[in-house]
Every structure is written in structure tokens, then in C-alpha cells.
């Protein structure tokens, strides 16, 4: 028996763990961030690369889903044009709470190099953004670091309180 002595009250001392609801909910939320496939332009390719063999997003619990109903985080990867703006709002509205938005690449942050008539100067004119990733295109590592920061942000929230809806206005 001696070698099976387990301190059940401590972390990792399975099968019992003591924690608060906050922590367990946030643990669940932060480690299964399902992302909406929202590759708009070049950055979308890097988003795909981060999901593919070398960078392997699955180990963060991040799986790309095609439907906004199943997604927690929207990664706006690429140039948002004025023609498309309406759709990003629609898709954002279709996502269930709690939801987060990562704006990936300078185009989604500020319009980037496309300072033209057809480009929305920053996705945050349309939807609230939680995290901005700089770069043109940000490397997959940047995106993964971004997701880790987002996880950290989620863990800091109180899960018990109803999520305050983030409003642009």
C-alpha cells in the first residue's frame, strides 16, 4: 500500500481535486477554444498552416469549425473589405456567448498596407476585438502565442458572472 500513497487534497492527486467553479469553467473554456475558419486573405493561409502538421493547433484544444454556432473564437485572418463587412457582423452575431475575437494581421487591425477605398480600416470598426496580432502575415507562432494570451485572459475572468456582452458601441 505504501507506494500508492496519494495526497488527494493536492493538485494532480487524482481522483479527487478540489477547486472552485470559476476555475473549472474557465479551464474548460480556455482549453477548448474552437475557432471559426475565417481565412479572408493571406493571413488565412498562415492560420491554416498553424492548424497543419508542423504547428499543430490541436494541442491547444483549438479546432477549426466551419459553423459560427460551434465556434468560441473568431480569428479574423486577413483583409476585411467594405463589401464583406456586413458578413462579419452577421457571423459574429451568430456565434454563441461567450465569444472572443482575434484580429490577425495588420489588415484586420488597421487596414494595413491597403489604405484604399475598398478596405475597412480595422475590423474593430465593426465588431469588438479582444486581441490584435501584429504582422503581415503574422507567423503561426504568433497566432499560437495569441491564443495562449487569450486563454490567460479567459482564466482571469469570473466565470460565474454572466459574461458582459462586449459592445462596439
Amino acid at each position: 500500500m505504501a507506494q500508492h500513497k496519494i495526497n488527494y487534497t493536492q493538485d494532480g492527486g487524482l481522483p479527487v481535486a478540489l477547486t472552485s467553479i470559476d476555475k473549472i469553467v474557465n479551464w474548460g473554456r480556455s482549453n477548448s477554444l474552437w475557432a471559426l475558419t475565417y481565412g479572408l486573405a493571406c493571413c488565412g493561409i498562415e492560420m491554416m498552416a498553424s492548424g497543419a502538421s508542423r504547428f499543430d493547433f490541436d494541442r491547444y484544444g483549438t479546432i477549426f469549425r466551419a459553423s459560427p454556432r460551434q465556434a468560441d473564437v473568431m480569428i479574423v485572418a486577413g483583409t476585411l473589405t467594405k463589401k464583406h463587412a456586413e458578413f462579419i457582423k452577421r457571423l459574429y452575431d451568430q456565434m454563441t456567448e461567450p465569444r472572443w475575437v482575434i484580429s490577425m494581421g495588420s489588415c484586420a487591425n488597421t487596414g494595413g498596407m491597403f489604405n484604399t477605398y475598398a478596405t475597412v480600416q480595422g475590423a474593430d470598426r465593426i465588431i469588438p476585438v479582444d486581441l490584435y496580432l501584429p504582422g503581415c502575415a503574422p507567423r503561426p507562432e504568433t497566432l499560437q502565442y495569441g491564443v495562449m494570451l487569450l486563454q490567460k485572459k479567459i482564466r482571469e475572468n469570473k466565470a460565474g458572472n454572466a459574461q458582459r456582452p462586449k459592445r462596439l458601441m
Binding site: D11, K23, E86, K89, T116, Y117, A118, Q121, L168
Partner: protein
Amino acid sequence: MRAYVPKDDVQAKAYYTDRYYVAPQVPKSDVSTDEVFSADLEAIKAKFEVIDSFIQMGQMVVYINAKDNYGVLELMRDELKYTQLSEMSAIDWLAKENKFEIFYQMLSMHKRKRIRIKMFIENGQAVNSVEKLFRSADWSEREMFDMFGIEANNHPFMKRILMPYDWQGFPLLKTYPLEGDEFAAWYEVDKIYGKEARDIIGPELRDTSRVDRYDSERFARLGHEVPKGTKITGNEPKTEQSYQEEGGVFLIKKFDKESSVVVDDPQR
């Protein structure tokens, strides 16, 4: 009084040009120097009026009358074996002579030759659609309409293609500013939130070099990040960069910098 700036061409201009600078010309050669081209030109000349023709950069350029475009392209496709219309579009000469120049870039795979058919139309004049000859013109003509407002007669679906249907203005005209007019600037806000939201969302920030460290609405300070909208005093604490909270995360293995491997060799 403010100096009058002509609005017929708002494109970027060279801010300094030597007064005595005369731009050289790309050499043009006579069509008779190339057998294939001169035969083609003869065939076109036999049926249609040719205004000008020369060879530039190994490609023949033929100027025709605007009303002949369908006929010339039909002749080119059926008899001269120019089977592909690679590209067509317009050039805006409104500021200079109130005209558009239209070009059709043709390719013959049999002869390995490229020809550019060109013509001028007046402002407001429509062209004949060549969509019946080359399906590719279907979309090119729509694009031309979208960008310049040049309509094509007999086109089955003359609508905008790249810009939204309710867009105003023709972006590639020289009178249209690069950053868009008033309508373009508020397009997405008006459409999604309505005009009353303009004040709340605020105008677009188009000055690419503007950075304001006291504006936390629009800018983040690297290393000293604060939530959006906070007043910046200048002694914000440093944001430490870490992958995990100190002390680890519940149920997740603690990230240990010492024991992690750094891959130097990408080919590993």
C-alpha cells in the same frame, strides 16, 4: 482665398519634375518589319478602317474605330486564329481629352503572337459587348463598368462585379481619390449600424504615420498595455510577457523554460 486645385485628376503626382526633362519613348517599329503581323493587319484593313498601327515590345497595337470592335474581334477570332482574349480594360483620359481608351489584349496560340486592339470612346458612350465572341469578356466588361462606368451594349448582366451593388462612384477614374470619397468612408458603418452611429464609431484613421501614446482607444503601448479607454498617465506598470500565470494553471502542466527544448535545426 484658397488656391483653386483642379479636381479632374486627384492621382498622386511627382512633386518635382525637372523643367527640361523630356521623357524618352519606348521604341515603336513599323508593322512591315514582321511578316505575321503585317499579314494580320492587311486582313483587318481589308474590312475595317485602321487608324494607327505599330509594333511595340514585340506586340502589334492596332487602333480601330469604336463601332467596329465586335467585327474586328470576330475577324480576329475566326479567321486570324486569335483564340483568346487575355485581357481587356480601359484607360482614363478624361482629364486630358474627355475620352476613354479601351484595349483588347489578344493571344494567338497558333502563331505565338499577341495583338492589342485599341479604340477611343467619348465619355458617356457605351461600347459593343464582345461577350458573344469571348465568354471572358463577360466578366471583364462588368469589371470595366464597375471601375470606370463604361457600359457595354447587349451585355446579359451589366452589373457591378467587384464593388457591392449599392456602391457609388467608379474607383478607377482619376477623379476618384485613392482613399475613397465620403460615401466610401462611411459605407460599412451606414450599412450595418446606420448613419446615427457615425458619431460613435468615429471617422476612419487614414494617416498611416500617426501614433498617439495618450490615446488608448486606438493605440496600445507595447510592454505597458492598459485596457481600452483608460487615461494614460505615463507610469503604467510594465506588462510582463509570459505564457502562463505564475504558479501554474489548474490541471495544466506547468511550463518550464529550463526543461523545454529549443529547436534550432528546422530540418530536425
